[in-house]
Symmetry: C2
Subunit: 679 residues, 2 copies
Amino acid sequence: MAPSSTEAAGGTFVVFTPSGKRGRFPVGTPVLQAARSLGVDIDSVCGGRGICGRCQVELSVGNFSKFQIDSQAGNLTEPARNELRYTEKRGLASGRRLSCSTKLLGDVVIDVPESSQVHRQIVRKRAEARAIEIKPIHKLHYVEVREPDMHDPSGDFRRLCESLREQWPNWGVADDVSCDLPVLVSLQKALRAGEWKVTVCLREGRRVVGVWPGFRQNIYGLAVDIGSTTMSAHLCELATGEVVASSGVMNPQIRFGEDLMSRVSYVMMNPGGEVELTRVVRESINYLAGQVADEAEITREDIIDLVFVGNPIMHHLMLGIDPTELGGAPFALTIDTAVNLRAEELGLSLHPNARVYGLPCIAGHVGADTAAVILSEAPHAQDAMTLIVDVGTNAEIVLGNRHRLLAASSPTGPAFEGAQISSGQRAAPGAIERVRIDPVTLEPRFRVIGCEQWSDEDGFHDEVWRTGVTGICGSGIIEVLAEMYLAGILKADGTIDGAAAARSSRIENDGRTFVYRLSPEVVITQNDVRAIQLAKAALYAGARLLMDKMGVETVERVILAGAFGSHIDVKYAMVLGLIPDCRLDKVWSVGNAAGTGARMALLNADARREIERVVRRVEKVETAVEPRFQEHFVEAMAIPHATAQYPNLSREVTLPERPSPEALMGGAKGEGRRRRRRT
Amino acid sequence: MAPSSTEAAGGTFVVFTPSGKRGRFPVGTPVLQAARSLGVDIDSVCGGRGICGRCQVELSVGNFSKFQIDSQAGNLTEPARNELRYTEKRGLASGRRLSCSTKLLGDVVIDVPESSQVHRQIVRKRAEARAIEIKPIHKLHYVEVREPDMHDPSGDFRRLCESLREQWPNWGVADDVSCDLPVLVSLQKALRAGEWKVTVCLREGRRVVGVWPGFRQNIYGLAVDIGSTTMSAHLCELATGEVVASSGVMNPQIRFGEDLMSRVSYVMMNPGGEVELTRVVRESINYLAGQVADEAEITREDIIDLVFVGNPIMHHLMLGIDPTELGGAPFALTIDTAVNLRAEELGLSLHPNARVYGLPCIAGHVGADTAAVILSEAPHAQDAMTLIVDVGTNAEIVLGNRHRLLAASSPTGPAFEGAQISSGQRAAPGAIERVRIDPVTLEPRFRVIGCEQWSDEDGFHDEVWRTGVTGICGSGIIEVLAEMYLAGILKADGTIDGAAAARSSRIENDGRTFVYRLSPEVVITQNDVRAIQLAKAALYAGARLLMDKMGVETVERVILAGAFGSHIDVKYAMVLGLIPDCRLDKVWSVGNAAGTGARMALLNADARREIERVVRRVEKVETAVEPRFQEHFVEAMAIPHATAQYPNLSREVTLPERPSPEALMGGAKGEGRRRRRRT
């Protein structure tokens, strides 16, 4: 047979998109093999046996004149037995081919779709948020292992490793693969049950942490955010990054104390009490793991990796470390670097060899949760000066850009979460979350969580009866105070103006002070206003302190993280002066960024190295020892005044005039000093 | 003040012996600091604070003219407060100085005695055995840690690591020291209890595995030899290598089967039975650890490292691996590389972070015990062709030198241990261990374990009544058969010669065959002879097979390892033909070489690397599939004949003539075939 033109030219020419990598290969080379040898990012679990379907590719369409490929028809082999069987059993979309089972016959341009790439990206909902890229820490490899031979006695594990290296070239399998003891214990049975075909889970290319007979497609990881109030968990398939189930529970430590400081006190008063606090939080993680596993129809043993984040006290308690030192100056962490552990060491019931990664803490008050927020929001990758505020019981504040990062914790107390507010409650059905006040009549309208209608709309009463109006949550408090201010009920110094009582019966005299009746069930008292003033002053002062340290007067981007941030209307936050001025279209509520950061660390080995590196660069500012924090705090007690402080905001709302600081501090200064302890 | 001549010359000149390292240092430099900066091997636990006394040195005596040092008087500072306190509390030998507390004033020659060196050597009793060098895997470091500072918030662990690097320069402390979880959990309390002074145990310079408040001088390791019959443990202080306590117990697995094969059968017949076998062996190690800890007046928690050796089945059971695969061809090991584990994973109750190292196995029948024997006897470091025989229930045989190593296991069965012998028993009080037979009268004399006298000496009966004569042990059997042969009672084909009955009533007719009455309690039967013939033929054939593979006709050195080897008289072993001919002064009984190898791996990091490297080079020979093994086995059934095979031995004893092989095999061939299964 005469050689074809392709062979005459020295093999077939193949170009891979989107990478643009190209090369010449002998006719008959499998597409997957050509791709991997060029370093094209294309996934596989079965190692090219037509089982897993991860290596799907398409013939590229369009004009390939620059590659001088005129027609691609017939330049790939027809579907082989493997591919037909896969198509029959699991379906293959039109135009898709299994690159492992398809061979090169002539010159082609081949597209590797995102879903076939190992390092695929997960695009996030917010346009400005960076995509989550997958760079697996744990990877499944299907291998066929040589049987033992008396003439060449070598352990089953040695032959397994040899097969791995031989059958997975160009996959970064280390020369000295090691393994966990439970793998050794189960290895011989798995090899024989799988008739010398097994799937192994390789950690970072060099340690076998799991072995299963035959072929296995999926492994899972859990991203856990241990909040002082709630704990949440996302179950992810580790190759695709898909969140397959999520769940949340109350942090069971609450029964030892609502806030962090009371839990530390519990330990101080009950030596060894940290053991109990540790036990219940670990139990809850086991419970959450069971919940999400059930939902995803897998077992806890399918979970091979876990990442956790939390504030320093939650972080240390998770590790079983007595948090007493974190309860008082100098707030010494035991460890501020990332921790790599085995789930078993933490009493977690996952895969017997599951690993646990804890993100690094930054300082005694700035924890792994803040590190995760940084990882998620990447201020260190921004040119713009970015302020990140994560409001929980305390507020963690990060300010910076690619050149410099500062972080601090501000003692806001739990007022933003509805605590210390007379009608306050957590964000739950029945809580008022949105408020508008007519500036003329001073009549309010509001919305309640769990009910679609506003309170003045038809059907509100038909809907709201189920829960009733049970109180007001954090975002509701912010809105009602801002609206009271804009309507003239609240003065800039935070006093409920008795004079307004003349305009509406909703302003009631409560003895020494006045209250605003928002609904039959909910009134806003002068003490409520003071509590929010103290919290927002602390938050603002923390941000301001970091701006001083950074030497900037304004910020270019503001990111509100945490559950509070995700419900708040940023405009009202500015009206009350929670955060510095910023263009409103440059302020984002990002929800549980800590959870997102945990998920990134779960899915991407580089993300772990990145946050470990970045955290070391973060300059920590301790508000408790900064005199300027006190000054800013006092200054920030007032509800701010128009253009000087909020030029951007002033374009959106007209703010009343501002009283003198002296007038302001008459009522709140002492109170502020009294309350300025960590909670 | 005018500068002294020393200062004029640019500082003091110091020479350290025995290393010969030398340098010039400013006046006032502590001797320890000068030594470490020159790379002189000198130990310290307290890091130069005059507490530990490990860094003792002496002024060298003798002629230093080549160093141009005329007088050393006054060239070191007088004892400082630290040193006086140490001398008062713990005593300092005359002439000794603490190098950390002694400063250089002028030129000196300073000797670092062996006991002050980190890499000191332990000289072994046998002249030809190589010394055990210490190269610690775990090392204690006393550190003073900077207290936490709110203005520079860093975790306690970070500051601990910084202090380690600062206070222990030139000690190989890694840049990225990590730690075990239990260290983290106890770190803050230890730092505060020790008032910021702690002693840490650093593993390989990069992982903190222990932390104790204040100063601590010693840590310990355990070398464990898991034999099928007995288990032994040596407790070593890790810095000095001193064996501070030893203990042994019967292997409790014996209740599941006397020999290895019956234990494998137990697992085969009782699925999951390996769990029980594993449990009892681990329990025994905990028991042994408790025994030796009590003896040394420490606790099990002071034991930070453990090394174990054992045959492949013991090794796998120790790891919790089902040994079934090792019970039949192809005798596949699960793992043939060294294992590094945590004691906790194996259920061992030592220090919470104690590590376990298992030496590598070589093949399905040649285990980590043989690897340890190789490490101890170092055939790979010899020019001479060396044969090592480790006789237990099977015989492990190693042959080679620095160029090539071969290993095999020979199925000797347990006859050498006294099993399958009519009056056989283990080596224990009451057992006959030495025998001489008068070649004229055929009257025997013998010695019994536990009794000083020979049976024909005065006082024998006064002594032996305590135990009685209970049987005959392995070495006794070898001697009685050899003596019977030399006396003409035993023919070269192994038949007890009925003609000898005419010469002595001790030869009795037992029906079809004859027996030799050694004592009222012990007779040697024809079947006893056959059992030893089979065992010794297997042993010899294994050695011969390796010699064939190696292409040598003779060996230059023979090492007999194991309990059997340590009691046997090598001359008699040659008379019976257990081992090939060799000059008798080149044959050594080395006792428990496997235990010695385990101790070396415990004390020396390089020893671990060495045996891992050497084991990979060992060529494994499987006797079961080698036709030549069968041939040698048949040949070796006879008791050998003088000069042809044993020119060296012939100089010592006169051997009777040899019968034809045909005559030999009449009685034993079938029997041999029947018994050739692993036991």
